[in-house]
């Protein structure tokens, strides 16, 4: 990166370290932090939307819709994450390619499954095998977002489903007495008040989501844990200008600090949100955040 780094063997101490920490590989490592943060930033709202949809479906009066919502919550919550990430993504990818194959290559006469192989016509490949590597990476990233959102959406749905039922009956009863319809009660009374009951559960989910980001590597996205392992492994002088021993401990220590710092910042922000949400509301949360939420009775404190 710097001109002085042209011959690393002559360097020592700090200048060696600066050159070492700015190799192309390390730059890729730093970018991977951006990938992880972007994944979290995109996944959280999408998962929340999945959760909201799931919770609304689960409390629907239409039986099939309710079964759908409850089924989604029960099935996705019950399947181990790692099985989900290994199986579901390959199935989703092949499903997309199969649909494109049906639409684009109606004249194809060979079977799609040949022994172990999954074969679709070249035009149906997703992304096309002639696409640049970054297109493959973007596609992999969105598969990851979708999978994370689906898994965490099920947990969020359960949290929101509980939160919607935790809004005091007296509140909805009053709304009904004013002549509001079921939809109006939901929109005007339940949704604005449920967040305070949902937030502790949702903040837990956010923390778990942060820590689940290393699962990205299972999906083929080169995340920070992959790079930490690759960069930290022993490097012999033949194959690098910067040979070193087993430095994985230092790289993982750095990741530890990153994750701890990130979860701590999240806690502070979530605390602020909690204070704002409970403003003027008769819950324990508005007085002291440490108290258990949801055990309060309706009425003045």
């Amino acid at each position: 990166m710097f001109a002085s780094c042209a011959d690393p063997e002559t360097l020592s101490g700090l200048s060696w370290l600066i050159c070492y920490l700015t190799t192309g590989k390390h730059i890729a490592f730093y970018w991977a932090f951006g990938t992880v943060l972007l994944l979290l930033a995109v996944t959280a709202p999408v998962a929340l939307a999945f959760g909201f949809g799931g919770a609304m479906a689960a409390r629907s009066r239409v039986a099939p819709l309710s079964w759908l919502g409850k089924g989604y919550i029960a099935i996705v919550r019950g399947v181990p994450d790692i099985a989900f990430f290994l199986f579901f993504v390959i199935a989703l990818d092949q499903g997309i390619e199969w649909l494109r194959h049906k639409a684009k290559c109606p004249d194809w006469d060979q079977p799609i499954r040949q022994g172990n192989d999954f074969i679709v016509c070249a035009e149906a490949k997703m992304p096309l095998s002639s696409s640049a590597q970054w297109v493959h990476e973007v596609y992999g990233f969105w598969l990851a977002v979708f999978t994370f959102a689906l898994v965490f959406g099920a947990f969020a749905a359960n949290v929101l489903y509980g939160a919607m039922r935790a809004v005091p009956r007296a509140q909805t009863e009053t709304a009904e007495a004013y002549g509001m319809s079921r939809a109006q009660v939901f929109r005007r009374v339940i949704v604005p008040q449920m967040w305070v009951y949902a937030l502790p559960g949702l903040s837990n989910l956010w923390m778990v989501l942060i820590k689940a980001s290393p699962l990205l590597f299972l999906l083929g996205v080169e995340d920070i844990v992959y790079w930490a392992r690759e960069l930290g492994s022993t490097k012999t002088p033949q194959f690098t200008a910067y040979p070193h021993g087993d430095w994985r401990m230092w790289y993982f220590l750095f990741l530890l600090v990153f994750y701890l710092g990130f979860t701590r910042i999240s806690e502070i922000v979530l605390d602020r949100i909690m204070q704002r949400l409970t403003h003027g509301q008769a819950t324990l949360g508005s007085h002291k955040r440490t108290g258990p939420i949801g055990m309060n009775k309706a009425g003045p404190p």
Partner: protein, 245 residues
């Protein structure tokens, strides 16, 4: 969510269509990127090593456009058969077990020796703890030898296990271990006899990809015939390495 998928699909389609016109066929080459000198990531983060040079030369001779992709060793075969890339060029020895699932070209690396490396001479290789990379021919050999097998996802972790005393010895390709032994300054050494395993290293392909297999087979043959493959072998593995006749 639907819009998300659609936008991605549209993005991939337009980008793909633009590229598809300029190249007739793109072959994606899958590798591990953690097995020097066969394949590794250099300081710039690009795939480098013996197999990088062989792969690039094969593509040139076969007039293919090639793209390198790295993938975890554990899932390198499943991702090939589900079509994420088209070949495996990752120091994968040709064995009967693998041949049942995927196809191989002729070997571009002669049947090579595997060796044990340990911190001292007096290690019991037949009943001690021996580390190896998971799902390799070396791991299979250790399991059959009667020693306790300790498997790791990457070859580097298998070596690290010996350094920190978790395993008595590591068993891997001799050409992979040689630079590590050289650089260890006497801390690690080869012990016991070398073991010949497998039928050499070939390019792994889907069984349904007969055409690509023939193309690459011909390209490997032409590299063997004009001696350029031997030059690369000597360049990356030293003067004493085995070469093709």
């Amino acid at each position: 969510m639907k819009t998300l998928i659609l936008t991605t699909a549209a993005l991939a389609l337009t980008a793909g269509a633009a590229l598809a016109e300029s190249h007739s066929q793109t072959v994606r080459l899958g590798t591990e990127g953690a097995y020097p000198p066969y394949n590794f990531l250099n300081d710039a983060g690009e795939v480098d090593g013996f197999e990088r040079e062989v792969g690039d030369e094969l593509c040139k001779r076969a007039e293919l456009t090639c793209e390198w992709v790295t993938n975890d060793w554990d899932s390198i075969i499943p991702n090939l058969v589900s079509g994420n890339y088209d070949t495996i060029i990752a120091g994968m020895s040709i064995t009967d077990e693998r041949d049942e699932v995927i196809d191989f070209t002729q070997n571009y690396f002669p049947p090579a020796a595997s060796a044990y490396v340990a911190p001292s001479e007096d290690v019991d290789l037949m009943s001690g703890v021996v580390s190896a990379q998971a799902t390799t021919i070396q791991a299979g050999h250790v399991a059959d030898s009667g020693a306790a097998l300790l498997e790791f996802a990457t070859p580097d972790e298998a070596v690290a296990a010996v350094r920190n005393g978790e395993a008595d010895a590591v068993f891997a390709d001799k050409d992979f271990l040689a630079p590590i032994v050289d650089a260890s300054g006497g801390e690690l050494m080869f012990v016991g006899e070398d073991v010949a395993l497998g039928d050499g290293i070939g390019v792994g392909l889907r069984e349904s990809d007969g055409e690509l297999r023939e193309t690459l087979d011909a390209a490997i043959q032409s590299m063997k015939d004009d001696g350029s493959l031997n030059e690369l072998l000597v360049k990356w593995f030293g003067e004493e390495t085995q070469t093709f006749e």
